[in-house]
Symmetry: C2
Subunit: 305 residues, 2 copies
């Protein structure tokens, strides 16, 4: 069985007729339960090592969340904090050691790296079979060519949401706003594949697109992944659209210090559209689960089971 199929094994149960608010929480819960069951059945302990350079509060929070979720489902998540002054050669050697350590199934490197490091060389150094973030070009190539390899967690989360809600993509016009290496580009290529979550007509828009609303209004499924808070308004979507919001933006809030909003103005779009994912509690919630699922996939690939 190919990884991509494995990655999509959490099928819609049929019990969920699609609600207008496409929550990610229950989907994530199902994925965690499936991973846990799989791990207990096989009596294994997949291991992820995260390299964290320097101390960035947001990165630390993200990593602690992964450790906590991992420990609940039987995945060992070990964080190694490296000094911000680490040089290129030392970092490459550390990655090499992890590549050669059969006990380590997955390696993540928190980005962005300090500017004195050559990020491209470092990303290429991580064994593509342990590259659960799917940053390595070989994993991107495999994704485009529909070969075995990792799918980045956020695009994988979008496919899970589609699958779980039994949202048909075949022949649908999917408009993606955003062309990043980790969301827009891989998603476009995934949705073009000859697969159950593919066969879509795909349009990719971005900062250079002229008359963005002209394109977004055509979407049967609109995917927003631009990193601009509340950017998509109700006059930019059709009333039949299914809207998937990949954005997670921190904005100031009158009551709390800040709150998180998506790239879509949920409040004004909700009434108009056919269905929409909330932020928080949408794609982001599933993304963490899909990343840990990649760790399980890495274990299986390396141990052929």
């Amino acid at each position: 069985m190919k990884i991509q199929e494995k990655q999509l094994e959490f099928k819609g149960s049929g019990e969920n007729t699609m609600s207008k608010r496409l929550s990610g929480r229950k989907i994530a819960k199902n994925i965690y339960a499936d991973i846990k069951e799989n791990i207990e059945l096989k009596k294994i302990t997949p291991k992820l090592v995260i390299l964290l350079i320097g101390n960035d509060p947001a990165a630390e929070y993200y990593v602690q969340n992964l450790e906590k979720k991992g420990s609940k489902i039987g995945i060992e998540v070990e964080t190694r904090i490296l000094d911000v002054s680490i040089d290129q050669q030392s970092l490459l050697e550390k990655i090499d050691t992890l590549n050669n350590d059969a006990q380590v199934n997955a390696i993540m490197l928190q980005k962005p790296l300090p500017s004195h490091l050559d990020e491209s060389e470092i990303v290429m150094k991580i064994d593509s079979n342990k590259d659960v973030d799917a940053f390595h070009p070989l994993n991107m190539g495999n994704l485009v060519l529909d070969k075995e390899g990792f799918i980045p967690a956020t695009p994988a989360a979008v496919l899970e949401l589609l699958t779980h809600n039994e949202i048909e993509t075949n022949g649908k016009h999917i408009v993606i706003v955003g062309r990043s290496d980790i969301v827009g580009k891989p998603l476009a290529n995934l949705l073009l594949r000859k697969s159950d979550t593919g066969n879509a007509t795909v349009t990719v828009c971005h900062s250079r697109t002229k008359d963005l609303a002209f394109h977004t209004k055509q979407a049967d499924i609109l995917i927003a992944a631009i990193g601009k808070p509340l950017f998509i308004k109700s006059d930019m979507v059709s009333d039949k659209a299914i809207v998937i919001d990949v954005g997670v933006n921190q904005i100031e809030d009158a009551e709390k210090d800040y709150r998180y909003v998506g790239d879509v103005d949920y409040e004004v779009c909700f009434e108009k559209v056919s269905a929409i994912t909330p932020v928080p509690g949408g794609i982001g919630t599933i993304t963490t689960a899909m990343l840990l699922n990649n760790v399980l996939i890495a274990y299986k690939m390396q141990n052929k089971n």
Copy 2:
């Protein structure tokens, strides 16, 4: 300098204001002249080895053409004909020998392979630094992520045509019909790049697309790459469109045995559109030149000059 930039060094000379018929002949001629000049200046002999399995007349014709063009510009093209009964292991060993031969800069394997061979494993075996067809997933990943690597010859020919005719892509809506691994997908990713031939809003249509004409009529630039003779008719294009025809289809002809036509019905579309490439004499003509240019790029990569 990155390869991609090198691959685009044949800039429009400014002497050509765009004509309605976008011929590839002069562009190809310029590329051959540039390659030849480069090779003579550096006193080098880049070498391409083509593995041809069995005897297919079309493949033999293509290979002989490459040999002839190569010899004119100083690229050694050596064809090795292998018996159609060759087994997987023997073929992998032959590729391994070529990978390790410093005199061989580029390796091409004529496809399709006989059905008893595992094509995917064989393609992966070719050293990605000698993979001038750019079939290796690492080259596809590098293309998507805008890193150094080979661009497949047909998409590279399309970019050359755009560059030579000074056709702006920034912010333009480019509709690609076809999602093949060697044309549609790499082209879509190239046209999305943050580059002089990128920054387009890109739509990819294919056999599953509903109401194809609805999409093709929106195109500022329409690229046909579906392999269906004369498929695009005048009611499927807008009068402002620039039409690039990647198709090469053999059809029966009353006078000769057969003739070649594109995916676009050139005769009926010519009057309507803004500009259009002919078949033959359009993209295909440039493609052969770009393949040989990839051999020169391979030499330079391997010899750091």
